[in-house]
Symmetry: D2
Subunit: 169 residues, 4 copies
């Protein structure tokens, strides 16, 4: 996976032979920490959301328009995170987001969270989404968005699905 920066250093799109991923930067907020002195685990899912919205923007559309103009919401059906190292107040992090799988009615996103200072991956994760209308009824992804999410079944090698399953440490 190459990492040719294409942007302003803040949000960058990387193109690999098979897949694209987007990068979004976040700085850890005090509100996101807990009394353990590190970030509360539930807050990682908000960062994944930041990454997902940024990926949409870099693919060529704004997620908010998908909701407002096309009555299409990407509702979360599953969410998973594996925590490798803690994130601390004021750390600068990078969320790398990519489409792992896209089918007619579902999209699976994969995430890597990096600590900018060390370059280490501190967490990985996946979310699975179902396209729904405003009333929460599943629907097919509108035609105009299919070019951004071409039908793509997840491959079997090094696939995060297996790595992503909660299992004993």
């Amino acid at each position: 996976m190459k990492s040719d920066s294409a942007g302003d250093g803040r949000h960058t799109k990387h193109v690999a032979s098979e897949r694209s991923f987007a990068e979004a930067r976040v700085r850890v907020r005090y509100a996101e920490t807990d009394q353990m002195g590190v970030v509360y685990h539930g807050n990682y899912f908000t960062w994944f959301e930041v990454g997902r919205v940024e990926l949409c923007r870099q693919l060529g559309f704004e997620y908010k328009n998908m909701e407002a103009e096309d009555d299409s919401f990407i509702v979360v059906a599953e969410a998973y995170c594996r925590y490798k190292r803690p994130a601390r107040f004021d750390d600068l992090l990078t969320v790398r987001t990519r489409v792992v799988e896209s089918l007619r009615r579902t999209i699976r996103f994969g995430y890597e969270l990096l600590n900018n200072a060390t370059g280490e991956i501190i967490a990985t994760g996946e979310t699975v989404h179902v396209i729904c209308d405003r009333q929460g009824r599943p629907k097919a992804l509108p035609e105009k968005y299919r070019k951004y999410f071409p039908a793509m079944a997840a491959d079997n090698d090094g696939h995060p699905r297996k790595a992503g399953a909660p299992h004993s440490a």
Copy 2:
């Protein structure tokens, strides 16, 4: 799994032939909703925490004392949630929490989230925790807590580990 209520209707401990689970009640807050009109998915992990703390209390100890008196933190290593039906503002929910697996240094908790009005399970989840000291170094669970978490490997039948893996819908 039986569900003989043993309490005041608010927090209840249920005893099954093999396993115990605790119940905690939460009412959905406006702050927990998002513009989709339902609860933001990341907030479910806070409810799982509420369930986990209540399970500790019903097992016979206070989690806060485990941190303060025994320098033992149950650090989250993995978190997973499967969303089945939306939760809405002001809904009364029940979090059912149980120990799925407990080993020398790790504990796996399982969760079911029910809508009290309908009785439906609206989400299920799992979290895996590693016992650590204040500096984040893994350690064995202190002797005094072992009675609450007897060594117990997860069984293979109906085990949430498989159901818990993010997979295509």
Copy 3:
């Protein structure tokens, strides 16, 4: 202000010679703490919301119906909190909420937050709300809710407005 409990010990309505207040119980969540080891200040406003919703219920209506059936949202125009003592993980707290002032288009709520174990007031606050329709346009409070919020200008004695203003310590 009397505090005759009228309920189940969980949510209680108190009636004073001039004013009513409602009580809601909250238990501090780990997610609500920050690395200072106490609750993050912004989270108090969520507890005030819990108190406000409970006050509506005890006055005789559900706030959610006010939105869904009567297209009336009580949009926050101002929010203030004074922090006296810290709140800590697992503390049981009581939010006392009352209507401080209600005019044709605005309602002012006052809050006291108590630590149940010590009985101390650990924070006080106020929020001012404007009645709006779904599009955010100010409107008068619908007739059917006026009985719950009778026109009532704030008095000048012991009025929280003055105490509530941020001022030098």
Copy 4:
């Protein structure tokens, strides 16, 4: 107050005849919205925190070091926000933060929140902080930080203290 940009467009320090303010950029997250379709009011205080931390950085020190190296925490004693216009998902906002008053043991910060697309001020606020040690005991601001917070009583003209008080709309 002038607003000569001195930076990279992301975080900017502005110098006025008497006072400095810092600017931090935030993009509204989906998690920050509520079912009203706009940002939940309590979340503004997290943005104010982002602004405060950025102001410290631009004044010349990192707030995290003040905690870690000098056992000095700026504990929130009061928090106030006035909401003028809604903030919406994906909006780019600027938080302008400045020191309104600094005394031996307390610091008052003032905030303006702007919508970058319209240039409008959508909220203003203030927070008052007391310098405390790790145990929560008030202490004087350490000598080394006094240059950043020179003794400065708030002036009386156009002072946010009055504007900041919650009052009827």
